[in-house]
Subunit: 286 residues, 2 copies
């Protein structure tokens, strides 16, 4: 479930565009006003505001926000005003530029979206960058990482629930054999399985793995990965990408695991206008 | 341009379905009648006939045709009654079952379709086989072939005309260096370029290659490939897949290169009902 709150009576897109222009003008930008408007409009409403703003002032709202804001607020608001697919295309593109560090972002976009949603992200990527996400990922990464990432972003996975039990058992064995070979070995078969099978089939394979080996694939694989990316950026990305989708569920899960509310954790780590904005997206008015 | 001919006055789908049933009944199948109807209906008309037939007789026309016909005519008609995307999904699926020999079929489907058309083929594949084309290709092939084929079928390529000249020059050099390494070497970089860049970008890269090396990429690559698949099956596939699309252009090109008309070449190689059917698709009534 979404966490953002939209007022019961919403101004028209033109009124919102005018209020934004007012916030931009004069001495310094009125960041609070910008946040007050944009953090409390849903994706469809923000899109209409962008259109109304561009028509009325003959400049792109995204460009203006970039010049008016700075720091984390600039980044977060830049993501927030885009459509979900456009936003993820922009986030993915930034990650392709330092992919050895930022590859978890690519993994998240490739795996947290349904096949149809991932396709929309790839379409948005074409439109914005006149390139495919696949070619930019392929050109940036190396070795096993390259192969895995390219497979994850490329494959148009089957999205149904059908599962082949025999295949799950045999591919659970493949994963086990492959993982034993260590980090530097050739992981072609593991990559093939992770990169091409449907979510349901992978679920069945992972269950077989757990039944057979008494431990989960995730635990085994995690030991072979290294964490990366700054925490602030990860936080910003998670909140902006999930605020209108399933952030409420993420909040619950976070609370269970970390024994502290996500809002409290965020409040401790952030400050100023950026804090105001992120807290608004998380659904906590200050 | 298409080569098939459709009568000026076409019977209703129900009338065609009834005529087909009449051709199926009695002693033996009236193949000529089946060909006379189905070879002269376009894709939209054939789809309506399939729907009308299934509604009226409570059996699938594709199943009935399979039991009534045999040999090459059975194969060709089985392909012909399907939608272009479904047909290519079925052809691709057959090829994944003996992929070391039939991989050129996968290459053709991956490369002769636009990115949007290939996506439709992949959607049809999901619907028919409850799997992705990608996973079946990945599970069947090995080595460099695997990587190339998976890249070709997976990537949702950018479809625009923009070209990066500097990139074309540097990737022409990559291809040259890679090709020098011989057939058995690791061709990761070559595969990355061929498997991810847009058609326009690859065209620019191939032009750079030709300017630099005085020979075309195709000639260099061809020497590293081996021809495969029976000629009859290739013929059948090309005619069925292109009859409603661009077979006229293929005929012209064939005539130029082989100094004999495609119709004459086909007439020499085929016989019986299969000949009648293929000649009808090529646009030559006997």
């Amino acid at each position: 479930m979404a966490t953002i709150t939209v007022p019961q009576v919403v101004p028209s897109p033109v009124e919102d565009a005018e209020a934004l222009m007012k916030a931009f003008q004069g001495w310094g930008t009125d960041e609070q006003a910008v946040i007050y408007i944009l953090a409390h409009r849903d994706a469809a409403q923000r899109k209409l505001i962008r259109l109304a703003y561009e028509e009325k002032y003959n400049e792109r709202l995204t460009d203006r926000l970039e010049s008016e804001l700075s720091g984390d607020l600039q980044t977060a608001m830049g993501y927030w005003v885009l459509d979900p697919a456009e936003r993820q295309a922009v986030i993915a593109n930034a990650a392709t530029k330092c992919i050895d560090e930022e590859y978890p972002v690519i993994v998240e976009i490739a795996c947290a979206n349904s096949p149809a949603e991932l396709l929309e992200v790839k379409r948005a990527y074409h439109a914005i960058y006149k390139r495919s996400l696949e070619e930019n990922v392929a050109a940036g990464a190396t070795g096993n990482l390259l192969q895995l990432l390219v497979a994850l972003v490329s494959t148009y996975r089957y999205d149904g629930d059908e599962v082949d039990g025999g295949l799950a058992r045999s591919e659970a064995k493949i994963i086990q054999a492959d993982v034993k070979n260590g980090v530097t070995a050739d992981h072609g078969e593991l990559i093939r399985v992770l990169g091409s099978r449907s979510r349901a089939q992978l679920g069945a394979t992972f269950n077989c793995f757990r039944d057979e080996h008494g431990t989960t694939v995730t635990k085994v694989l995690r030991s072979a990965m290294h964490k990366s990316g700054s925490d602030e950026e990860s936080l910003l990305r998670v909140v902006v990408m999930h605020a209108e989708k399933d952030l409420r569920g993420i909040k619950d899960e976070f609370h269970k695991r970390a024994s502290v509310a996500l809002e409290q954790a965020i409040a401790k780590e952030t400050s100023g206008d950026f804090k105001t904005f992120i807290m608004a997206l998380v659904g906590t008015s200050q």
